[in-house]
Symmetry: C2
Subunit: 356 residues, 2 copies
DNA sequence: CCGAACGAAGACAACGTTGTCAAGAAGGGA
DNA sequence: TCCCTTCTTGACAACGTTGTCTTCGTTCGG
């Protein structure tokens, strides 16, 4: 044993690594005791004195438990893997923030691995597979997949080996639990707001009509109108590119199509970038916001919404919350709890600013 | 040995873990051979046949090396730690992207840990310390610190235990290598562009004059003007809040102060958000961009710069490049190479759009 | 004064690798 | 036939923990 100790010490000198054995020695107790104290085990009985002696030794030596060794021995890593294209296309960064914060609270580490912006069925999943594989090599206890925009995705085969949760996207094969924004609720809230402000003739600047966001938000708009006994006039729905230019073009089309008295008094833009374009179209025509035309957006892209003049009233995508909820759901899964729902919807809250 | 094998197998059944021993058995070779092949060691001589047999077995069994065990045994984790407030305040996300991509290329993992937005000397470093500590527990081989905006920072004591590189910030104590944007070069490039377009009376909308970005960019502007035999008129430099409102106010002040013939024909806004406000001030006065007044920004905030109408010509902050360079520098350091420079400057390129 | 009950020590096997080494088997050339 | 490569093996000690068990002093209540 004396020999072992010497070897260890030599290693410590070489590598600057303080081990539990060192702590035990310094405190004059057994390794077992140290392990018990450090991992705070319940069934063990350790006197207060020994406990403080050990803690002092830990501080004195600057001991830092080796997470890898702990993982190896205890067969649990406390690591989750997050594979996401968000790093590549940083639109929904707040998902990462939410997940990261929640993981931190739960004393877990998030290993973030990049994936390319894959389309739903695309063959371009090289990076995604590789990322998943790498994460599994690290023995993560669960996986999260996060997308920049709400859509169906295909997840690599190997993801099924551990608990997996999808964030801001859903499993095209319908096998994995997912967290997505409540687009319909968001659309309802937006149009409700306009109705409350007295508008009844509302133009809609639509996204690509096939994506889940467009479908949901439009459906919500319809519901809100129905609640007020109104119907959505298909003529007032114009689709365009999801950019400022697209919004500008669409807004021009709606605004120029009718004589003043028939012109919609409010525009529901299905995203903030398009709202940005709509602003320009409105201002160009000498109209004021919200005096002549009220505008409401969607997405709450801070840089746009709160820097536009007047500041844009919009519906927020609950990225941060979805990230946090994803981690929570994953934690529940890894703890062996059954899934509560296949698809959890998260509220899209209205952010009142000055454009309505 | 037979006994050991049995135990292992039982464990494998329980835990679904395929180990090197399993692979060796399946391929009918020794563990040693498998280890040699998988870690691609040089001094070993393995016949082509054995090699393929082993690789086949790996695939057949779906063997995945256990990264933690490897790290433990080989004393290297292939992990770098990145502690950053960017996750919290996602302005400079591209630093993460650059670092992430580079790390991926180098077959290394980036552990990202959050820190709060700490001021230069603030006492608010609780999270930062904790993050650093956690990362060191994971036995990262080096640390990166990244800030959202260019400034001096204090790094936790324990960061000095491993190679450390600062990105978009610098060590207030001057001990650690750092990667920062070449603000002066950026300022020069911006004003040069305006000079080339024939402007000689240039207004400057300044940031808080004390931060490194303002100092550098202004210095660069001065150099460019000097190159054309001009001087920077201190009267034309107006400082404001680093927001659209601040930019609006500052632009109003400059535009309204002079009669038309003395009015500056170009504005150099030290960031894009202020340029956004300046746009409004200019348009409000019935002036056109770039016809009456040219505008150039700084930061290249995509959402603003490329969605403003006309699109904003601006100078880009090389976030992605800085991130990549940070990882490269760290790789050099961990490989034992000496540091080439205390502070590496990265070019800020001009992005031509339509506002000049 | 005896037997619990408690606090602690010590031993040992795992966890899945890496790394080193001595030694054996097969094959080739002289 | 013998030696010398070229492959390949088996053994063993690390790496730093966790986890389980047995053992052994103390101390305390009865």
């Amino acid at each position: 044993m004396a020999k072992t100790t010497t070897t260890r010490k030599a290693a410590a000198v070489r590598q600057r690594g303080v081990t539990m054995t060192d702590v035990a020695q310094h405190a004059g107790v057994s390794r077992t005791a140290v392990s018990f104290v450090l991992s705070n085990r319940e069934n063990a009985s350790i006197s207060e004195e020994t406990r403080t002696r050990i803690n002092d030794a830990v501080k004195a030596l600057g001991y830092r438990p080796n997470a890898g060794a702990r993982a190896l021995a205890s067969q649990r890593s406390d690591w989750y893997g997050l594979v996401t294209e968000i790093v590549t296309a940083p639109f929904a960064v707040d998902i990462i923030k939410g997940a990261q914060d929640q993981a931190w609270l739960d004393h877990r580490f998030l290993l973030i691995a990049p994936s390319d912006q894959a389309d739903a069925v695309g063959p371009n999943q090289g990076l995604e597979d590789a990322a998943t594989e790498k994460l599994l090599e690290q023995r993560v206890e669960g996986l999260l997949y996060a997308a920049t925009y709400h859509r169906g995705v295909h997840v690599p085969e190997s993801a099924h080996e551990v608990p997996t949760v999808l964030i801001n996207c859903f499993d095209a094969d319908g096998k994995l639990p997912s967290i997505v924004p409540d687009e319909r609720g968001g659309g309802r809230v937006a149009v409700d707001r306009l109705l409350r402000a007295g508008h009844s003739r509302i133009g809609v600047i639509n996204l690509d009509p096939h994506i889940p966001a467009a479908v949901g938000r439009l459906e919500g708009a319809r519901e809100a109108l129905a609640g007020a006994g109104l119907e959505l006039d298909p003529e007032l729905v114009v689709s365009g590119h999801a950019t400022a230019d697209g919004g500008y073009a669409a807004a021009c089309e709606i605004l120029d199509r009718y004589p003043q008295q028939d012109r919609p008094t409010a525009l529901f833009c299905l995203n903030d970038r398009m709202a940005m374009g709509a602003y320009d179209a409105i201002k160009e025509r000498g109209l004021t916001i919200p005096g002549d035309i009220a505008v409401i957006g969607f997405d709450n892209q801070e840089l746009i919404a709160s820097y536009l003049r007047p500041k844009l009233t919009t519906v927020a995508l609950p990225f941060e919350k979805m990230g946090a909820l994803g981690v929570q759901t994953l934690a529940a899964l890894t703890a062996g709890q059954p899934i509560t729902a296949d698809q959890q919807l998260v509220d899209c809250p209205l952010l009142e600013r000055s454009s309505v």
